[in-house]
Symmetry: C2
Subunit: 400 residues, 2 copies
């Protein structure tokens, strides 16, 4: 076998990885548990919102034609017909020369076409002096003006925020149809690995990838299922993968930082199904494996956490979004470069960037440094066809 | 009582609200449950990372002085001393003229000061031909180069991301000291309100604020505890507040959209403790109440969800961050305005903005529209001393 991987471009790898994404079935969850879940169908309002013409101020409902020319020195004088109560239907209509008090959110009585704010009214016995002229439609919203039954309220694929949950509540959506969260198995391989509660001896290192991957999966709406550390042993890896494939929708295997171990991982995946990609033109992350066993994608990630994280962001996020149907946009920010960013043509570089007041700086230094994960605020993608960027260039940074 | 509130500026309201924030005690949680929690103390590495000099490539550890002038046509010839295994300490040192295979992540043997990548080496029997000259220190990282015991690893007040969790794992932090999550009581008031599973009749509306506030509290790291709908009745509100104050760290009361109900809410809070602020120069959100009963802050929010959300973002977020010790920065984005944004001097306007390809547009229209919550991507704050912004201005938008 060659030293060199048969690498493909990131865009092609993305097509492969999204092409094998398992489509999650839908499930209904109570609205109170729907936050951050992915809406599985367009939500259409069952009724108009508001369901009635509604004042948006505290004031007097009236006919705007009664206020023509009204001012502080020459107020319009109207007869008060009492008050409308919150939540109740007015039992009276308004005629010319009359008005009725309506609180914010109260229903507009028939006949009225405007509401004068109390700040511009004066009460004199049973008469109300209105000190401003009002236009028809002023200070109230009509039935269906906010949402009407023809609209798509929230489209399929939306990740539900607190604001969406509020709007769904207003529309009476007590149960929400969302995509089931994919269960993502996480396996860390490597003879050098120990669990985090142990003290390393000799050349041992603690297993960071289990926690990094679990956190990433949680962020992306999946449910992480860690299987712990597996030694660099064909049978051990095969058994762990077999269990994970049976129990999960997607499996992530990190490790195999050396060529031999990577090859063993690829061979093991091939023995259980197929390897579609072994090698992506991405730095860091070149030895990435994309394979599957039956319908379960198995993704081989670099062993070093800082490299693994770049592949999670650049490729695995797309796999999870496709599985849940999330219409996700990468959160990017346009920044000016405070330093040159050189890059090799023909490979997509993902450079960790520190966003500083005078601009964005690349965190180069040696690969294999974990601290770049927390010193950086995002990733700069340098496309394969570019040789980098120069100081002063405006670039889009994928913000963590 | 006057129609007009005794309003104070937003910055002053922020000082009041953060001044009464309850300081959450700390607790230890397993690393696997620490994501999105707030770190309660500076974390300092217990050991150096890496704990040994470590190769960052697959290759041959050697003395760089043996490779001076080496090239493809004139390779350096070194004697192979075998392989170093992952996780194990080399039992041999390297001398001039020798090299040893080391996988990525393996420990560098004594004597070696560089690692030649296998891509630039050729194996000829027991000899290795190295086709590149190497500098001392090339392709390995030294003990403590990533994190050393003197550093602050992650500072107090950090909201732990998946990347932080990975770095904590690498440092052997199996239990993390975080701030306890504040329990935030949520009360919705209003005679017009019905639960979301009911169909509104007459001028009834469904209770959206319970879900909006609960989602916001979850986003900000608190634990929402909803108490449901309370009618606009002094005794009912008093009883609900009393229960919530006894069970929660912070209480949010929304509603009182009309002046009378707002006054009743303020009076009820005053009867249980004190009202510190009634009226903030913010639009929307002017009738905001800041009070407390004993050590429990009680925040009165506008009844309309779209207005309540602005107050949550502009003020209540600060209260929660102060309670948990989170060093939070509002996530803002610099955008160019595609439309003028007028604003009244003397009051801080928070305008919902749609971020479109040609720039940011204000979503004005009438107040009282919920749809702006989901049509907008963020808020533009217009400071009290400005009269607005003009088309073409660069502005900072607080992104949802």
């Amino acid at each position: 076998m060659s030293f060199f991987l048969d690498v493909i471009l990131v865009d092609d790898a993305r097509k492969v990885i999204t092409g094998i994404a398992p489509a999650m079935p839908t499930e209904n969850v109570p609205l109170a548990h729907s936050q951050n879940r992915i809406l599985a169908e367009d939500t259409v309002p069952a009724t108009d919102i508001p369901g009635f013409s509604r004042s948006v101020v505290d004031g007097y409902a009236l006919l705007s034609s009664d206020t023509v020319g009204a001012s502080e020195s020459m107020p319009a004088m109207l007869t008060s017909r009492g008050r409308i109560q919150m939540g109740e239907e007015p039992d009276t209509a308004i005629q010319a020369g009359e008005c009725i008090y309506v609180p914010t959110g109260g229903m507009l009585p028939e006949g009225a076409d405007a509401v004068a704010m109390i700040e511009y009214c004066e009460v004199v016995g049973d008469e109300i002096l209105v000190q401003r002229a009002l236009a028809p439609g002023e200070n109230w919203i009509s039935r269906g003006e906010d949402f009407s039954t023809g609209d798509v309220l929230i489209p399929q694929g939306t990740k539900l925020s607190s604001r969406h949950c509020g709007v769904l509540a207003a529309n009476g959506v007590a149960d929400v149809t969302v995509s089931r969260q994919p269960i993502v198995g996480i396996i860390s391989t490597g003879n050098e690995l120990i669990t985090i509660d142990k003290k390393p001896v000799a050349a041992q290192v603690r297993d960071a990838n289990t926690y990094l991957c679990a956190g990433f999966v949680t962020d992306q709406g999946g449910i992480p299922r860690p299987y712990g550390i597996v030694r660099d042993d064909r049978d051990a890896l095969h058994d762990a993968l077999k269990t994970a494939v049976a129990e999960c929708d997607i499996v992530l295997v990190s490790g195999g930082s050396s060529k031999d171990d990577r090859d063993m991982c690829a061979d093991t995946v091939a023995g259980m199904g197929e390897v579609l990609v072994h090698g992506v033109a991405i730095a860091p992350g070149k030895p990435t494996i994309i394979g599957r066993a039956g319908k379960v994608p198995i993704i081989g990630l670099p062993g070093h956490p800082a490299s693994a994280y770049v592949v999670l962001i650049a490729l695995v996020a797309d796999l999870l979004h496709r599985a849940t149907g999330e219409r996700a946009e990468q959160r990017t920010r346009t920044v000016v470069l405070a330093e040159n960013v050189p890059s090799a043509r023909g490979r997509e570089d993902y450079i960790r960037m520190a966003l500083e007041p005078d601009g964005a700086r690349p965190l180069f230094g040696k690969s294999g440094l974990l601290n770049t994960l927390i010193r950086s605020q995002g990733l700069l993608r340098v496309p394969a066809e570019r040789e980098g960027y120069e100081t002063g260039d405006d670039v889009e940074v994928i913000v963590w």
